[in-house]
């Protein structure tokens, strides 16, 4: 389907979304740059943002809940992700993790 909106409407969307997205990105960087240091209670909570965000980004990409436990586990992305996690744990090397993960995805896809 193609849009019925004209150039003015589309450029308005581009600009409004662009400005709003920039404001979201700049929000706390602006704020913490102006106040004197980050409040310690906030800072202690912020320590957990990377682990929580990374897990929330990764998990839905590799876990696809199926009708049964077996169907959930015997999934190419989950198996490839598990293999990649082992490689990441032992090597702490991103290239190795990605290479093995992608190869595992293709291999499992060929078998399943």
């Amino acid at each position: 389907m193609t849009t019925d909106y004209g150039p003015l409407a589309i450029w308005t969307v581009v600009l409004v979304v662009g400005v709003a997205t920039f404001a979201i990105r700049y929000s706390f960087i602006f704020l913490f740059g102006r106040i004197d240091g980050v409040p310690s209670r906030i800072e202690s909570g912020l320590r957990f943002v990377p682990a929580a965000v990374l897990a929330a980004l990764v998990a839905p990409a590799i876990v696809d809940p199926g009708p049964t436990v077996a169907a959930t586990i015997l999934d190419d992305r989950l198996l490839a992700g598990a293999v990649a996690a082992v490689v990441a744990w032992y090597t702490d090397n991103m290239f190795a993790t990605i290479a093995v993960g992608l190869l595992a995805l293709w291999a499992v896809g060929a078998v399943l």
Binding site: T2, Y5, V13, I29, L54, V58, P60, A61, I62
Partner: protein, 225 residues
């Protein structure tokens, strides 16, 4: 130090670029399919620079949704970046304002994830140059991939699974980040909620998962003290 830290940032970003290319191609192709002009398609990537929200906006425009819905949907999808902004802000405190602005514009999932892990591990890294290397590489590839998608009109076949490289990047960073009990709990809760909410609209599964993970991690941390 520049240019060593800049180069280190670019190098750290390389694996994820492999996964961003098909995504960027799709951003260009989908925009044309939806009836945007080539200039509008490229403008969307340059001005907004946030893939998931771009694809959502394109899809809604193609279906002639009201402009308010288009804009609000894209904004809600990008709300997660407020968390990145708060999390990375302490490392940017000493930056001049113009660099704050540049770094903010370049803030993405990948740029944030790579930089925050590096900053936490190594105090000696130049924040600005490492970040500009990693986030700048992401930006460059995103823009080029969009343009190529617009002009080529064809992407990399889904079956190749190259897009899987991006979650693998996050997985590598996650494994090195989970260094103690509170962080493990934050990851387990965050991941579980995100899976449960994978079908929630507007990326709310990701935002909800991240918030639930942070709160759980902080609670476990306080009980352990």
């Amino acid at each position: 130090m520049f240019p060593d830290d800049f180069r280190a940032g670019v190098r750290a970003a390389l694996p994820s670029l492999l996964g961003l290319i098909p995504f960027g191609l799709v951003a260009g192709i989908a925009a044309l399919d939806a009836g945007l002009s080539p200039l509008q398609a490229v403008g969307l990537s340059a001005v907004v620079f946030a893939g998931a929200s771009q694809l959502a906006a394109i899809d809604l425009l193609a279906n002639d949704a009201s402009l308010v819905v288009v804009v609000l949907t894209a904004i809600v999808i990008n709300l997660r970046m407020a968390m990145y902004s708060a999390s990375i802000a302490p490392y940017f405190e000493s930056l001049r304002r113009r660099w704050e602005v540049v770094c903010s514009y370049l803030l993405t999932d990948v740029g944030y994830a790579l930089s925050i892990t590096e900053f936490a591990e190594d105090d000696g890294t130049s924040r600005r140059w490492y970040y500009l290397g990693a986030a700048g590489a992401v930006w460059t590839v995103w823009q080029v991939a969009t343009v190529v998608g617009v002009f080529l009109g064809t992407g990399i076949p889904d079956e190749w699974g190259v897009g899987f490289a991006v979650p693998l990047v996050f997985l590598t960073l996650l494994v090195s980040e989970v260094s103690d009990r509170p962080r493990l709990v934050a990851a387990l809760v965050g991941g579980s909620v995100a899976v449960a909410g994978a079908n929630w609209p507007l990326n709310l599964g990701l935002i909800g998962g991240a918030l639930a993970g942070v709160v759980s991690g902080a609670l476990v941390d306080r009980r352990g003290e």
